[in-house]
Every structure is written in C-alpha cells, then in structure tokens.
C-alpha cells in the first residue's frame, strides 16, 4: 500500500520521449534527486513543461545541458545560455509562454477546463496563431490546457498516503502540476506518519500522488 519507491525504480518508469512537468522556479522547488536520476538513466527526447530552465548547472538546466530534452515549454530561458543556444541552433524546440498564462494552462489541464481567456499577450507575438474571443468589447486570447505524462514534484513534507506540504517559494508550480499529470512522482524532504499533517495544511491531497521518493538528508 505504501507509495514509497526506490529512486531508481520511480524514474525507471519514465520512458524516453515522455512529457514531463517539473516544478520549480530557478531551481527552487525542483526535485534534485529526480533530476539527477533522469540524467543517470540517460533519458532522451523529453518534453519539459516548467517555469524556466534555471542555469546550466542547476535543476532543469542540467537536463538541457546534458541534451536529454527535445522540447521545452517555459516562460523564461534567459538565465540559461545553453537553452538559448540550442533554441537558436534549432536543436531544441522552445515554446515561450507568459508565466501567468503558463500557470493557468497547467491548472486548466488539471482542472478539466477546455481553455481560458486572458488579455495577456493580446497584440503581441504570443498571439500568433492563437484564437481570440471578443467579449463585451474586450479581446482575449484563448489559451489551451497543458497536460503531462509525469509530474516531478518537490514537497517539504509528505505523509505515507501522499498528502503534501510545500515550503515558501519552493511551492510555485508544484501543486498545479500535481493535478495535471497522469503519474505524479514526489520527492519529499520529510516523509511522516499519516495524521501528522492536519487536513487544513495539506496543499496536495494524497489521491493525486502515485509515487513517493525520499530526499536524502542534506549535507551541512
């Protein structure tokens, strides 16, 4: 019944070419062991949906630098020259999405919406090829849901059932992505007995979580 798996087994279930949502914002809130294990198992051709690609030596940046990624959907790649280089060279496909729109598209995928209407991006290059909708004299872009095969999530605490708590700005996209993927793999700093996280403090309910991996004790 336990959802706790060995790191190796949890990541082995992810095939080459899989679509991954990965939590984090400039590496903060990105599950480090899961990233390192994707690299160790040398996954190829991944699609990564994430806020950014951090730096070449940090978080998702390592996946890009190691050429594990074929496609990125993100709001920002400015801190990772390697992502920019691969994009300009045509080696990696990059779709840039405004951050708030990215959050809503991931949420729409998890919440069963067919899409959302937003003023963000109207009249800019972001609108290219997208449908617009006029409502009460205003123009909105129709933005469509994003879903993934796997979500890789970093939690501060998990209980054995998989109820999750996050810490401060390491929360960011994690709870949204935990709703929007077929299989949800969580790396948790602490795994505690059921009942230790009060219902009101649970941010991601256990039924969404498929696999728990413990984060090793941190050095220092």
């Amino acid at each position: 019944m336990s959802k706790v798996r060995k790191l190796e087994d949890a990541v082995a279930a992810i095939p080459d070419g899989a679509v991954l949502m990965i939590g984090g914002f400039m590496g903060v809130g990105t599950p480090p062991r899961l990233i390192d294990e994707l690299i160790r198992q040398n996954k190829r051709g991944l699609t990564v949906i994430a806020n950014d690609t951090a730096r070449p030596t940090v978080g998702i940046g390592k996946l890009v630098a190691g050429r594990h990624v074929a496609r990125v959907i993100a709001s920002h790649i400015g801190t990772n020259p390697e992502t920019q280089r691969q994009m300009i060279a045509g080696e990696t496909e990059v779709e840039l999405v405004p951050q708030g729109t990215l959050a809503e598209r991931v949420r729409a995928g998890g919440f069963g919406l067919g899409g959302i209407l937003t003023p963000t991006g109207v009249g800019t290059v972001v609108a290219d090829g997208k449908r617009t909708v006029e409502l009460d004299g205003r123009t909105f872009l129709l933005e469509t849901p994003l879903k993934a095969d796997f979500a890789l999530i970093l939690a501060k605490r998990a209980d054995y059932y998989g109820n999750l708590e996050y810490a401060l700005t390491a929360r960011n996209f994690n709870p949204l992505m935990a709703m929007a993927a077929e299989t949800v793999i969580v790396e948790a700093e602490d795994i505690v007995p059921v009942g230790m996280i009060p219902p009101d403090h649970v941010v991601t309910p256990n039924v969404l979580v498929d696999v728990l991996v413990a984060k090793e004790a941190r050095h220092g």
Partner: protein, 218 residues
C-alpha cells in the same frame, strides 16, 4: 548620486499609497531601498510570496525562500506564500497596485517592449506580459538612452510586451506620462534642461508651460 539611484528614488515616491508592489529584476529592485518614510507597502515576488525583503544578514539565506531570479530573500512578519496560479491571479486580477519594470523601448503611445531582441536575446517574457497587462499601475524605470540611441521611440521596433499603455516612465533625464495625445514631459532630472530631454528623445514630447524638476535632493 548615480543615474540608477536617481531613477529608483523618483520611482519610490510613486509608492506612497500603494499596498502591493512588484519590482522587476535589476534596476527596479533598487526602488525598495529608497522608500520615503511612512510608506507601508508589501512587496510581491511573483514566484510566490507577499512580504519579501532582503536577507537581513549573511548566513540567514534559506534554500526555500528566493526571489524571481532565484536569489535568497527574507520575509517580513505577516508574509504569505502561495502557488504560481495565485501569484499571477493577484497580478492579473487587478490586485497589484504597482509594478515597476525595466524597459528596452517605450513608444509614443506608451507601449513597452522589454523582453526580446530578435536573433540576439531570447530570455522569454517571464511574468512581464502578465504584469503589464494586469497591474493597476505600470511604471517603467530605465535609462533614457542606451549606446547613444534613445529608448523613447516613435514606434517600438522590438516585440511588444503588451498593447496596454503604461502609466509612467521614469528615466535618468525625465518623467514622462503617456496620454491619449502622446507622451507628456512631467518632470526633468535635477540639472537637466527641457532641451536636453528633447534632444535625447526619439519622438515628439508634449511640453507643458512649466516643467518642474524631480522632487529629489541631489
């Protein structure tokens, strides 16, 4: 006082009645250091917190507490953290009183370009498009010129951040207010003449009969 400090001090005066403010990475971040006494704002970091402040001293960095650039921050008592959808709900839903952003170009119609130089710089828009589209008040804080070319232009040649007109532009030379009629010269920097501003500007400005200097002690 250097040019960036001047800009930051002038922008800070605009935050007197604000409750929630978002400062972009770079020059706008300086604004927080120059708030007038009695200002009582909360700063949002769009990665998910209201109540950010600088790390109070070295050694107190926390791995779970960072700004939108990934650098460590502190948090004031009464801070609140939340996910990215809520963070941008605050921005897009009209709950953000002021956003201060850097700029590459602002045009005659008050439209901002600040996220991309095609073929050369492709950082991505991050939260900029949401901030400009959603904040109650948008202030651009930037140098008036770069590499000898004015950043105040007739029409943006770089990709727009939003078609929404910004509310105020503060540079090292002037304060400009976009209006239906065009950009109005509201103030000049201390020691800068109207003629100097006009000469450094790439489009027409509307110049009122009197143009005060920025209310900043040099």
């Amino acid at each position: 006082m250097d040019e960036k400090t001047l800009i930051a001090k002038r922008v800070a005066l605009e935050l007197r009645d604000a409750r929630l403010v978002n400062l972009g990475i770079g020059l706008p971040t300086l604004v927080a250091r120059h708030l007038p006494a009695g200002t009582n704002v909360f700063f949002q970091s769009e990665n998910g917190i209201i109540g950010m402040e600088p790390v109070p001293e070295e050694g107190l960095e926390n791995a779970d507490l960072s700004d939108a650039g990934g650098s460590p921050i502190g948090a004031v008592p009464g801070a609140a953290s939340f996910d990215s959808a809520v963070s941008f709900g605050l921005i897009r839903g009209g709950h953000l009183d002021v956003t201060v952003l850097g700029g590459l170009q602002v045009d005659e119609e008050g439209r901002l370009a600040n996220w991309m130089v095609p073929g050369r710089m492709v950082p991505g828009m991050g939260g900029a498009m949401d901030l400009v589209s959603g904040a109650k008040r948008v202030i651009v804080a930037m140098q008036h010129s770069a590499k000898g070319e004015s950043k105040i232009v007739k029409r943006c040649t770089l990709p727009l951040t939003s078609v929404r007109r910004v509310d105020l532009v503060v540079t090292d030379l002037a304060v400009l207010e976009p209006t239906d009629a065009g950009l109005v010269l509201k103030e000049t920097a201390p020691g800068v003449s109207v003629a100097q501003v006009l000469a450094a500007t790439g489009c027409e400005l509307i110049v009122p009969a009197t143009v005060p200097a920025m209310p900043i002690d040099a």
